[in-house]
Each structure stands twice: as structure tokens, then as C-alpha cells.
């Protein structure tokens, strides 16, 4: 039954989407076709689909580890940005631009930067009892401003005609695509490994079990002696590491350089992916594929039908709304109760 809700939510989102298109004066079926089928009808489309799904799945896996323990890291967007910055920094300024060590170093730098950016809210929550939702979010704004400072200032490409962007990363600092005609590259294997690791951690490890107990029953977890601060640290660092690596893969993959806008909102969308996937590794894979299709479809209709890409965010929101609502019908049984006369009137209080 837990699988039913995401499916139901997707179907309902499609229906609302059709009505919405119809109200805009677009034929619903062709528009839906343009949104959800056309992007996948070519090899390039399939390559783009996996390319966009990869960071979403990777980040959602990291976030879900925290969400299971009720640790609300909603600043993956910032951790992604910091990962991309650190990795690009290594790629741009490492003394030997042809070193085979470059990519591994960038991987480590991206992961470390993402973790460091998440470590601040982790420390503040664990030690100072500070709400991690707000801190992770504020850190996202700061990360975006930091990126803007770098590409407008010290890291700006001197040969870049004053555009706010860095120089291109050297070839050794990039993932080479499987096929030069398409953009999909081996970084997708990182995501595959992350999914397996996430599954091992949540379903096969005692630590993962303790984290789930912390989330589902905090008092029981405390009684059993599971430290809350451990759950906070692991939850936030897992999300930070995943987002940082995703940022690195994005910089060293499709982007190839830094600019003020490096993410179409992967960090926020991944939160929805984690929920659609029921905080479960394999569910997240499906959720990520679905969300990636929303991004692709949004870009597609923007070009073919001149509809704004903001549609993607609208669909994301609607999808999550329906998912949450569908849960209600799955976890609760509806009974019609006729209130007994006067039994619940507020006057009873007097």
C-alpha cells in the first residue's frame, strides 16, 4: 500500500496538469505528450533524463538518512553549491592540470565542502539546540552569495569577456561523456553506489536502525540510550556529503565551469524526491526519475510551447501535495460519524 500513494499522486498530478493546460488554451493531451513523452523519445532525451535524475537521487539518498531521524536538512541546495565551488576550485587551481588525481581530489573536495557546510547546522543543533531547518536554509542563501562573489570577483575568467563565470575546467577535471554526442557521463555510477550504500545503511545496519528509531519514537530512542546528537550529526553530514558530491559531479559534468546559477533547484527538488521515495533507497530512484522528467518536460514545453519553466515548480508542489494527501487515505480509514446532539457543544465547558 505504501507504493500506492506515489502512483496515485502522480496520476492525480497528471490530471490536474491536463486541466491546467486546458485552462491555458493548450490541448491537454498533446501538451502532456510534449511534457512527459517527447523528452524520452530520443537517445539524447534518455541521456538527459538520467543525467538530471542522478543528482536528484544522490542528494535525496543523503537527505533521507536525516529525514528518517527527523533531522530536517532543507539546505541541500547550499551544500550542493559549496561542493561545486570546492571541486571547481581544485580543478581550476591544482598545479598539475593533467594529473589523473584531479577528479578524485575534486570528489573529495566536493564531499568535504558539502559536509562542512552541513556541519555548521549540525553543530548548532547538537550543541546549541538551534533549529536546523532555518539554519540550513540561511546557509543556502549565503552559499549562493558566496558563489556570486567568486564568479564576479576573484575567480572570474580574465578571458571571459567580463561574463560572471570562471574559466573552463581542464579536460582532466571533467567526467568524459560515454559518447561525445550526449552528456551522460560516468558520474552516474557514483549515484548507483550511493543508492546501494543508502540501502545497506538504512536496511542492514544497526546504526541505521537507531536513526529510524530516533525519528519514529524519540522517547524510545532516548530510553534505549541512542544519542540524539549522533543522529543529528549523521543525518546532516550524510545529506551534506551527498549534496556536495552532486555539486562536484555537476561542475565536472554538464557545467564545466561555475556561473552564478549552477542548479535548477536540485537541492529543493531532492527533498520532494526523498518523500516520493518514502525515504527508501529504491523508492528514491523511482522518485528521482519522475522528478527528472518534470525538469526535462518543463524545459521542453518552454521551448516548444513557450510555457514558462516555472511550471516545473508548480508540478513539484502539486505532486507533493497529492502525495501527502494520498497518504491520508492509505493510513487512515474514513468513517462518517454523526455527532450526538449537543455532546460536543462548547457550552459543555462551562
Amino acid at each position: 500500500m505504501r507504493v500506492a500513494a506515489p502512483v496515485l499522486a502522480s496520476v492525480l498530478t497528471l490530471i490536474v496538469g491536463s486541466l491546467f493546460f486546458a485552462s491555458l488554451g493548450h490541448e491537454p493531451l498533446p501538451t502532456l505528450y510534449a511534457f512527459f513523452v517527447e523528452p524520452l523519445s530520443s537517445i539524447n532525451g534518455l541521456s538527459e533524463w538520467l543525467l538530471k535524475a542522478s543528482p536528484l537521487i544522490l542528494i535525496a539518498c543523503g537527505l533521507a538518512i536525516g529525514f528518517r531521524a527527523n533531522v530536517w536538512n532543507i539546505g541541500a541546495e547550499g551544500q550542493f553549491t559549496m561542493g561545486a565551488i570546492a571541486a571547481s576550485g581544485v580543478g581550476l587551481f591544482w598545479p598539475d592540470p593533467e594529473s589523473v588525481l584531479l577528479l578524485p581530489l575534486m570528489f573529495l573536495a566536493g564531499m568535504a565542502a558539502g559536509m562542512a557546510w552541513a556541519a555548521i547546522p549540525a553543530f548548532l543543533r547538537a550543541r546549541m539546540n538551534t533549529n536546523e531547518i532555518l539554519v540550513t536554509l540561511m546557509m543556502t542563501y549565503i552559499a549562493t552569495l558566496f558563489l556570486s562573489y567568486l564568479v564576479h570577483g576573484p575567480w572570474r575568467d580574465p578571458a571571459g569577456f567580463n561574463y560572471p563565470q570562471t574559466a573552463l575546467l581542464p579536460a582532466a577535471a571533467m567526467f568524459q561523456s560515454f559518447d561525445p554526442a550526449y552528456r551522460l557521463n560516468p558520474s552516474i555510477f557514483i549515484t548507483v553506489v550511493a543508492v546501494l550504500l543508502m540501502w545497506l545503511f538504512t536496511d542492514r545496519s544497526f546504526l541505521g536502525y537507531k536513526m529510524s528509531v530516533s525519528g519514529a519514537a524519540p522517547l524510545a530512542a532516548r530510553y534505549a540510550g541512542f544519542r540524539e546528537s549522533a543522529a543529528v550529526w549523521i543525518g546532516l553530514l550524510a545529506g551534506g556529503a551527498a549534496a556536495g558530491v552532486a555539486g562536484m559531479a555537476e561542475a565536472a559534468g554538464p557545467l564545466g565551469q561555475l556561473s552564478p546559477q549552477i542548479s535548477p533547484g536540485y537541492g529543493f527538488a531532492a527533498i520532494i524526491v526523498a518523500f516520493i521515495g518514502r525515504l527508501n533507497a529504491f523508492g528514491i530512484v523511482l522518485g528521482g526519475l519522475l522528478m527528472s522528467l518534470l525538469f526535462l518536460g518543463g524545459e521542453g514545453v518552454q521551448m516548444t510551447l513557450a510555457l514558462p519553466s516555472a511550471l516545473t515548480r508548480i508540478f513539484q508542489g502539486i505532486l507533493l501535495f497529492f502525495l501527502l494527501a494520498a497518504d491520508f487515505f492509505i493510513f487512515y480509514r474514513i468513517r462518517v460519524v454523526r455527532p450526538a446532539k449537543n455532546a460536543h457543544a462548547p457550552e459543555a465547558a462551562h
Binding site: I133, M139, Y141, A310, F321
Partner: protein, 306 residues
């Protein structure tokens, strides 16, 4: 003196959207509901109010349109959180994303031209007084409305029976239900009120503060308003003070950029976010102070038993 007046009035104006949004959220949270979607509701309010002005409606209608847009958005959250008993964090996030999407979608045709901003009031005699006039009597009407809302909400929460019931529901919905209060209905009203206020905050941004439409123009103000409620330890007066503090920070940052301080503008722009973190840490360290006014049932779904 000129500079002082500029900083003072700028602070009051910059604080106004925060006052609206945070006071609204205070009422919501006092009823035991956590709506993280302020950012989305503010954007809806900003978009609808701006649209109404460009469509030629008079200013008051535009502002009301913005407020109603925020309330309509909050109803989505309310249905999920109160009727469907969903996780309130997730429902609020969904609203934040949805609101930013819808507002961006609506705003695609708005263009980038500014509109004529909401006028300041002109009180006979008072507005013309030297110093005092520009300091106190020339703001736009929404600034005074924000202060009025502060008085009204403080009075409502702590001096009326309805306010007491609202707070009781936030502490223990089970008890309130047992003695016969309609918990869900009252929470709905609180959520709608919060949406109305967030919509007003958004409307203020797009028709008075900036006055133009930019995608995602709230730039985190909705989240800062959420932080303000925590910072204020759920007390109205502290929300007012906190909003002025943040308003002051925004203005000092703008003045700093205008004076051409030798620091990167991004660092100045980051100040409000940094300050939010610092302030949250300082407040949160004192667990007792937080616990004292914290609505005990915050963010916990309530299902009437039986």
C-alpha cells in the same frame, strides 16, 4: 539629521513585511500548527497585488487581492495539515515550492517596469512638522496597519477569551477537544489568518517597498519571518523589536553599499542571513526561555479521538 531620518524611516519600512508575516505565523504557531510555507504565500500575495495594480485596480483592492491570495494558498496547507493530518514540515515545504512556482508563472507577463508605489499618508499639520513629520507621519498606510495589527494581535492573544482558547489549543488540543472546543476549525481560522498576513506582507513588497515584480522577490524574507517567531520566543512585542532589528540591518547594508564600503556587496547582502543564524543560536541556547512560551503541540497533527 537627513541620514538619521533616512535610516530610521528605512528601518521601519523594511521591517513592515516581516511584521505582517511573523505576526501571522505567530498566531498560526500559537494554535499548534507550523506552516513553513510563508515564503510561498508571500510570493503569491506579491504576484496578485502587483497584477491587480497593473490591471488598473485601485491600490486598496490590489492589497486586498494580495492578502486573499496568501489566504487561498494557506488553505492548501490547511487542508493537508489539518484535514489530511500530513507531516506539517512537508506540507509547508510543498507550499513554499508551489507558491514560488505559481507566482513565477503568473509573473511571466508582468514585465520589469516599476509601478507607482503606494503613497505616504498626509496628515494635516502633523506630516508637515519639521523632523517629527518625516519621522512619524509620512509613512504609507500599511506601515501603520502593521503596528495596528501588532496591538490587535497582542490584545487578542492575551486579553480575550478567544485568544486564550487559541493558545490552549496550541498547548493541548486533546484537552481542548475534550472540553468541547472545535480544535480543527479554530486551527483552520488561524492558518487562514496567517495566510492573509503573509499575503499582505508580499503585497507590501511588490506595491510599496520595491514597487516592481521580480521572480522570487521575497529573497528569503518568509524564512526570516519564521526565524523571527523563534527569536521572539513566541511573544508579539519581541516580534516587533526583532523585525525592526532586521529592518535596520537591511537598511545599514543598503547604506553601506551606497557609501561604497570597501567590502564585497555579497558580504553585505549576506548579513541578514548571518544575523538570523547568530540570533537563533543566542536564543536557542537558553532552552528554558524557549520552552516557556513554546506551544507544546506545535507541528503535531491532531486527530479527534472517538
Amino acid at each position: 539629521m537627513e541620514l538619521f531620518i533616512a535610516i530610521f524611516t528605512g528601518t521601519i519600512i523594511a521591517a513592515t513585511p516581516l511584521i505582517f508575516a511573523a505576526l501571522g505565523e505567530l498566531v498560526v504557531e500559537k494554535s499548534g500548527v507550523l506552516n513553513l510555507g510563508i515564503e510561498g504565500m508571500m510570493l503569491m500575495g506579491a504576484a496578485f497585488a502587483f497584477w491587480a495594480v497593473t490591471a488598473g485596480y485601485p491600490m486598496p483592492v490590489a492589497i486586498i487581492a494580495g492578502a486573499l491570495a496568501g489566504a487561498a494558498a494557506s488553505l492548501l496547507f490547511g487542508v493537508l495539515a489539518l484535514t489530511f493530518l500530513t507531516n506539517q514540515y512537508a506540507a509547508g515545504l510543498a507550499l513554499a515550492i508551489f507558491g514560488s512556482g505559481v507566482s513565477a508563472f503568473l509573473g511571466r507577463g508582468f514585465g520589469s517596469a516599476p509601478i507607482e508605489a503606494l503613497h505616504g499618508v498626509n496628515v494635516p499639520v502633523l506630516s508637515d512638522l519639521p523632523v517629527i513629520g518625516p519621522l512619524l507621519f509620512r509613512f504609507d498606510p500599511l506601515v501603520y496597519l502593521a503596528l495596528l495589527m501588532f496591538v490587535a494581535i497582542s490584545w487578542f492573544l492575551y486579553r480575550t477569551k478567544a485568544g486564550l482558547i487559541l493558545r490552549t489549543i496550541g498547548e493541548s488540543p486533546q484537552t481542548s477537544h475534550a472540553i468541547g472546543y472545535p480544535v480543527i476549525r479554530i486551527r483552520y481560522m488561524a492558518v487562514l489568518f496567517g495566510g492573509l498576513m503573509a499575503g499582505l506582507a508580499g503585497a507590501y513588497l511588490s506595491v510599496a517597498y520595491t514597487p516592481l515584480w521580480v521572480e522570487n522577490m521575497t529573497a528569503g524574507k518568509g524564512w526570516i519571518a519564521l526565524a523571527l517567531v523563534v527569536f521572539a520566543t513566541w511573544r508579539p512585542l519581541r516580534i516587533l523589536l526583532g523585525a525592526w532589528l532586521f529592518g535596520g540591518m537591511t537598511i545599514l547594508q543598503l547604506q553601506g553599499q551606497a557609501l561604497g564600503l570597501q567590502v564585497p556587496s555579497e558580504l553585505l547582502s549576506a548579513l541578514p542571513y548571518l544575523a538570523t543564524i547568530v540570533v537563533l543560536v543566542l536564543i536557542s541556547r537558553n532552552r528554558q526561555m524557549l520552552a516557556l512560551h513554546f506551544p507544546a503541540s506545535l507541528a503535531k497533527p491532531f486527530r479527534p479521538a472517538g
